[in-house]
């Protein structure tokens, strides 16, 4: 594809984060306004909207709230991966001329509303309610815990290696003033292992934070983005994979749909995993990161534990990973996918302050939703 035909990210922003009195709609609107300001575009320019988790008609509702009548919407519920998938689909919608300026947004007050339940969402008439809920799994924690247990069994992965993911995330958060745990001080592997088990082998500190927050990403054509306020970031490639909904349907707990979505995204972008300068992957739990690194081909199958254990993913390490501090130490308002893209854009624009990866030109974001159910990979690059 000729470079000028790409869609580009022209603006990004977070809403208020951490603990806020704002409603989900207010957080969405705040993030959209800030991201449009970042791009230098008015609200009246928006003709595409994607969001989810607000209502049954999420994107339509947000459009109404903003006074926009979009010609393209997407309200797909794919859990935490939704927003990475939306960025990819918005880029495609722009290339096809379905809309000119698309906004991908998210906002949640789950922490303040005490909306999160350890047992997860119970729906009627679905298999999980009939065949899983009677056994009281924590959803989704217990599924990820069983993936961790199996990974330890098959590959000898250790609790210390899992804990290193949380320790490295904290190191990054210490460099990020917006991180929930910015002032919490460094974390040690022993502290992770000494925190109480929630669903073994996952300790409390193997699990992401629960915060309020939101974010937005503005996309338009590269041609238009070049005339705007910020350096454009190109959406070079993407891939999706939907593997299963519930735990019983996973034939191999150490294999994920990242093995499908990742190679598709890299192939479309015309790059290899080794070319990527900065990686932002979903870290609902420490095991999520290890499984995703393997799935994406960033390390060999079964070797993610030893891959991370020498501090390679910490600031200053050879493999910059989750440079905000991630869901583990920056914040996690229920679904994290939008923050992966926001940070990748800031890294590629060279705006990441103390946590900036020097000379970053290519970034990969990978969202994981549900119980290893949905996967979306996006490869982003600078305009050159």
């Amino acid at each position: 594809m000729h470079r000028d035909a790409f869609a580009a990210i022209a603006g990004v922003a977070e809403s208020d984060l951490g603990v806020t009195p704002l409603s989900p709609l207010q957080l969405n609107a705040q993030a959209v306004k800030r991201a449009l300001d970042d791009a230098g575009l008015p609200l009246s320019a928006v003709d595409g909207i994607a969001t989810t988790g607000l209502s049954r008609f999420s994107a339509t509702l947000l459009a109404e709230y903003l006074g926009v009548r979009p010609t393209w919407t997407d309200s797909t519920m794919a859990g935490g991966s939704s927003f990475d998938l939306f960025v990819a689909r918005a880029a495609r919608a722009i290339r096809l001329g379905l809309c000119e300026v698309a906004v991908v947004a998210y906002g949640s007050n789950q922490r303040s509303a005490r909306a999160r339940r350890l047992g997860g969402v119970v729906e009627t008439g679905v298999p999980s309610t009939e065949f899983e809920i009677p056994y009281a799994p924590l959803r989704p924690i217990s599924l990820y815990a069983m993936a961790a247990q199996r990974h330890m069994h098959e590959f000898g992965t250790t609790p210390e290696q899992l804990a290193e993911v949380a320790v490295a995330a904290r190191e990054w958060a210490l460099l990020n003033p917006a991180a929930f745990s910015h002032d919490a001080g460094p974390l040690t592997i022993d502290e992770v292992l000494a925190s109480p088990f929630v669903s073994s082998p996952l300790h409390r500190l193997d699990c992401c934070l629960q915060t309020d927050g939101g974010g937005a990403v503005v996309l338009t054509s590269l041609e238009r983005a070049r005339d705007l306020r910020r350096p454009p970031v190109l959406v070079l490639g993407d891939g999706e994979a939907s593997t299963q909904m519930g735990a019983m349907e996973i034939p191999d707990l150490t294999w994920t749909g990242a093995s499908v979505s990742g190679p598709r995204a890299l192939r479309e972008a015309g790059v290899s995993a080794a070319d990527i300068d900065v990686v932002e992957v979903y870290d609902s739990f420490t095991i999520t990161v290890l499984l995703t690194l393997e799935g994406l081909g960033l390390c060999a199958r079964g070797e993610s534990g030893s891959f991370v254990e020498d501090g390679r993913t910490r600031p200053g390490g050879a493999f910059p990973l989750n440079t905000t501090g991630g869901g583990l130490s920056y914040g996690h308002p229920g679904m994290f996918g939008i923050f992966l893209v926001i940070e990748a854009v800031r890294q590629l624009r060279g705006e990441a302050g103390e946590r900036q990866v020097p000379g970053a030109e290519l970034a990969l974001c990978h969202g994981t939703g549900g119980e290893l159910s949905t996967h979306a990979t996006v490869v982003l690059g600078v305009d050159r």
Binding site: L118, G125, E130, E132, A136, P137, S142, Q149, R150, L253
Partner: protein, 139 residues
């Protein structure tokens, strides 16, 4: 407080499977066209697409594919700590279940387990599993 679990009314689609548990029969769905066994029951065979399906009864033997001990939960029955596991039945299909009758510290992946029924508040029975005595997991 009841010590039995209260289950939601089964959806019409799964009443037949649940009713069999009243006789302590663990059903697997069997495709009459290709012989494939599957769980949970659905309206077509995942192997060949046939909608000609009936039932087979599981032997009750299986192995622990993976497991987790839940230490913090809103659940009172079972009460923490309890073990949630994925058990691969000898016939192939996988069930999410609880492992009972053993110290969680003794559990291992691939441990052999056998079916054990637990009566629920409405007279249905819930299939649980316990380790087969004398059968340690292969190292």
């Amino acid at each position: 407080m009841s010590t039995r679990r209260s289950l939601a009314e089964p959806a019409a689609e799964w009443v037949e499977w649940w009713d069999a548990t009243r006789q302590r029969r663990l059903l697997l769905q069997r495709c009459r066209a290709c012989g494939r066994l599957q769980h949970y029951p659905r309206s077509l065979c995942l192997a060949c697409g046939s909608d000609d399906l009936d039932w087979a009864e599981a032997s009750g033997f299986g192995s622990v594919y993976s497991y987790t001990t839940v230490h913090r939960s809103p659940s009172t029955v079972p009460a923490v700590p309890y073990v949630v596991a994925l058990v691969r039945l000898a016939e192939g299909p996988v069930l999410l279940t609880n492992i009972v009758g053993c110290d969680p510290a003794e559990l291992r992946c691939d441990l052999l387990v056998v079916l054990e029924w637990e009566e629920t508040a409405d007279g249905r029975n819930l299939p649980l599993f316990r380790p087969v005595p004398g059968h340690a997991a292969p190292d």
